[in-house]
């Protein structure tokens, strides 16, 4: 409702505000029309001595893990390339705080392509398909 109005229009602001207050701003089509592949973010951490380590984002509980999975889905669905890069950059920065001696981190964002039942029975497994890579060089001033 009111989507044809400018974003700053008071009526549109009121409707959007009410939708958020009542919890009705999103649709109810969870896992539909089909279940999508699962997104994954992998960090390739480079150190000054040439060492390379791989790591995944980490949270402290299963409940937070579910929320993180939702964040990765949102990154996948974001049509604004700058916004998705900004989100990946923030996640990379959080990872860098765990590895402050790293000089460069490559964030590899992709999807875990799930096998079908038949493919799994024939020995197929999930595979990682890269969608986007971002390289962040850490400067001392950061």
């Amino acid at each position: 409702m009111g989507e044809q109005l400018p974003v700053s229009h008071p009526v549109r602001q009121f409707i959007a505000g009410y939708e958020h207050l009542a919890g009705i701003e999103s649709s109810y089509g969870y896992f539909s029309p089909n279940v999508t592949d699962s997104c994954r973010l992998v960090f390739e951490i480079h150190y000054s001595d040439g060492r390379i380590e791989y790591d995944l984002p980490s949270v402290g509980s299963h409940a937070a893990g579910l929320r993180f999975s939702s964040l990765l889905d949102k990154i996948r669905l974001t049509t604004d390339a700058e916004l998705s890069e900004l989100m990946i950059k923030m996640l990379t920065y959080a990872k860098w705080q765990e590895h402050p001696e790293a000089v460069k981190i490559r964030a590899i964002f992709g999807e875990m392509v799930l096998p079908s039942v038949d493919s799994f029975e024939r020995g197929g497994h999930e595979r990682f398909e890269v969608r986007q890579t971002y390289e962040f060089v850490i400067k001392e001033t950061q």
Binding site: A16, G23, Y28, G29, P33, A64, G65, M87
Partner: protein, 317 residues
């Protein structure tokens, strides 16, 4: 025309007991307590501002700020707390503690109205500032708390009722809010089921397989799951039939028990086999509050009180 108007009024304002409200209040109290405890380890990490946590809450708040300026957010509370000399982390812990307290107060029914309003507001602040990290459970908790704070609290099972002994309850208003919750759930399930039935994966069972092996929902090993592959099409079709059929079969007294049982079993399954415990619990709470009372006749129920059907002439002058 007058008869139609009367029927509409009787549909929207049936005389009700407050048993559904007790279920909703206690259920949401438990849900909020579980929400707080489940995020104890990550609370600061998930809601920190730029550069201090997993992802900046400022980013989510900026996006929300464009949508509407009236959406509550953590930065409002941080700004208020900073006036009192509190730091960001301390304020976040105060919010966490107040939310937990709100959940406990809702469970026991003490200061029910204020607890419902405060819990709704604080939960909304946390959810909206962590908007990038939310999923279905948060929307349904917001929906539940929104209806709870507007409903005619306190209910008879609450401590408030025992301590303050209010004079009477407005049974038509109780009926109205229960009806709104029932309609809301019916719409949500109908469109959830409709969108699933449009996807081929829910007909051939591949969506069930994918949902169960998709990280982070992969509780059961694929080797174990594959032995049950012939059941997947039936389960997939069963899921969307239950959801799509919800608004048609949950209202009739003849089919309500079987449909409610199916829906509850579906959510228990989601909780156990996909480890989405909080999502399962909020859906079970909302379903039980909306359609549970009236299915079982309690000893204390008034013999003539109908839980579901509008009382004849309830609103006639």
């Amino acid at each position: 025309m007058r008869r139609w108007r009367q029927q509409i009024l009787e549909f929207f304002f049936p005389a009700e007991t407050d048993r559904w409200l007790s279920i909703l209040r206690v259920g949401l109290g438990v849900q909020i307590i579980l929400y707080c405890l489940s995020l104890w380890n990550d609370w600061i990490y998930l809601l920190a501002p730029t550069g201090q946590g997993l992802i900046s809450r400022n980013l989510a708040e900026s996006v929300l700020g464009v949508e509407s300026i009236v959406i509550p957010r953590i930065s409002w509370l941080v700004a208020a707390g900073q006036c009192l000399g509190l730091q960001n982390e301390a304020i976040l812990w105060v919010v966490w503690g107040l939310l937990l307290l709100g959940g406990i107060l809702l469970c026991i029914g003490l200061f029910s109205r204020w607890a419902a309003i405060g819990t709704w507001f604080l939960h909304l602040c946390a959810v909206k500032s962590g908007d990038l990290l939310v999923y279905g459970v948060d929307n349904f908790v917001t929906i539940g708390l929104f209806y709870l704070m507007l409903s005619p609290l306190p209910d008879k099972a609450s401590l408030d009722w025992k301590i303050y002994k209010p004079l009477a309850q407005n049974s038509e208003l109780l009926g109205f809010f229960r009806r709104v919750l029932q309609l809301h759930l019916s719409i949500a399930y109908f469109f959830g089921g409709l969108s699933k039935c449009l996807g081929g994966g829910w007909w051939d069972g591949s969506s069930i397989w994918r949902a169960l092996i998709r990280p982070p929902f992969d509780v059961l090993s694929p080797e174990l799951l594959v032995k049950w592959k012939y059941l997947f099409p039936a389960i997939g079709i069963g899921v969307w039939v239950i959801e799509l059929g919800y608004p048609f079969f949950i209202w009739s007294k003849r089919t309500r028990l079987i449909w409610l049982t199916c829906v509850l079993l579906m959510h228990v399954g989601i909780g156990l086999f996909m480890s989405m415990y909080l999502f399962a619990s909020i859906m079970i709470i909302l379903n039980l509050a909306a359609f549970g009372p009236g299915l079982i006749r309690w000893q204390s129920d008034p013999p003539s009180g109908s839980e579901m059907l509008p009382r004849k002439g309830a609103l006639s002058a």
